[in-house]
């Protein structure tokens, strides 16, 4: 009897603690390497739901207002259906907002914001002034090469994009 009660107590505690652990909103930052290496963020739903069709774009590439627009239109997401159940959608949005370019949590975010007007909320990273400027030396024809396909295909050139690494050593424009 005593054991049974204690068992139930332990189970309840375990349940509460694991719930707490899994509802932490912010994800975990493993340091901010500055301009070309992004803070390593982990967030289960974001990694699961936003990395099937392209890399999971770092939240620091866009301001909060942009992420609200992106997450509010997942049913018609750049011509594809990326819709989610409302709870997962809200969970991911919260994570994106907490780590957004204007959240003040990363150096790369501050650089993105330096080139963005306060009321701007682009849907695309690749249309931000910061992105265009960082890529002004990439030949125009390279973007539409078959091996690249789209500017949104960061990993075609940044071979460690999935790990958040965008430095000169790991970049190569494919033929």
């Amino acid at each position: 009897m005593n054991y049974l009660l204690r068992g139930i107590g332990v189970l309840a505690a375990v349940g509460t603690i694991s719930l707490l652990a899994f509802s932490l909103p912010s994800g975990e930052a493993h340091g901010d390497g500055g301009g070309d290496t992004l803070p390593r963020l982990t967030h289960k739903a974001w990694q699961q739901e936003c990395a099937s069709c392209h890399i999971a774009y770092a939240p620091a590439f866009l301001p909060k207002a942009s992420w609200r627009r992106v997450m509010g239109g997942l049913g018609q997401h750049f011509g594809e259906d990326a819709s989610l159940d409302p709870a997962t959608q809200a969970d991911i949005l919260r994570f994106l907002e907490i780590n957004a370019a204007d959240a003040g949590t990363s150096r790369i975010g501050r650089k993105v914001m330096q080139r963005m007007d306060a009321q701007d909320a682009p849907l695309r990273i690749t249309e931000s002034r910061w992105f265009v400027r960082k890529h002004d030396e990439v030949p125009r024809a390279a973007w539409s090469r078959k091996s690249v396909g789209s500017a949104a295909n960061c990993a075609a050139c940044h071979r460690q994009a999935e790990q958040g690494v965008f430095d000169d050593d790991s970049v190569r424009i494919p033929k």
């Binding site: 505690a13 603690i17 694991s18 099937s52 594809e80 789209s150 295909n153």
Partner: protein, 136 residues
């Protein structure tokens, strides 16, 4: 103590995760046959293959099919529209396929809508899995 509780919490969650991922291609076929109100044996791999290959009008005057992203041979890796690798769809090449009912439903909903401009019926989903699970 907290750490130990946390670890056993993780272990417990791990068990739950295993339990909820216990679907198999066979159990999903049975589920879709039942939802369609047809006997399991009436699911057709030939119809599934036809669904996979059928071309439909897409964007920019190009046609689109399931094979556009998953490639003509479902044992091969495919490519998303953005260019990201998609692991093979056939369980023979990728045992993780059709083992999570919620994931399977999510992608049928999205991809059937994308390619066919409508949802796939329960029988079409059953046929589709019937075909892929016999690809060797």
């Amino acid at each position: 103590m907290i750490k130990r509780l946390f670890c056993s919490g993780l272990a417990a969650l791990g068990m739950v995760a295993v339990a909820s991922a216990a679907d198999t291609p066979a159990s999903l076929m049975a589920h879709y046959a039942q939802a369609a109100g047809v006997p399991l044996a009436s699911l057709s791999a030939a119809r599934g293959a036809a669904l996979y290959r059928a071309e439909h009008p897409g964007r920019n005057a190009q046609t689109v099919s399931c094979a556009s992203c998953h490639t003509a041979d479902p044992k091969q890796p495919g490519r998303s529209r953005v260019g990201k690798r998609i692991e093979p769809l056939a369980p023979a090449a990728n045992p993780g396929r059709f083992t999570d009912a919620a994931k399977v439903e999510k992608w049928f909903r999205r991809n059937c809508g994308d390619v066919l401009q409508r949802e796939c019926s329960a029988r079409e989903k059953g046929d589709f899995i019937a075909w892929l699970s016999q690809v060797q």
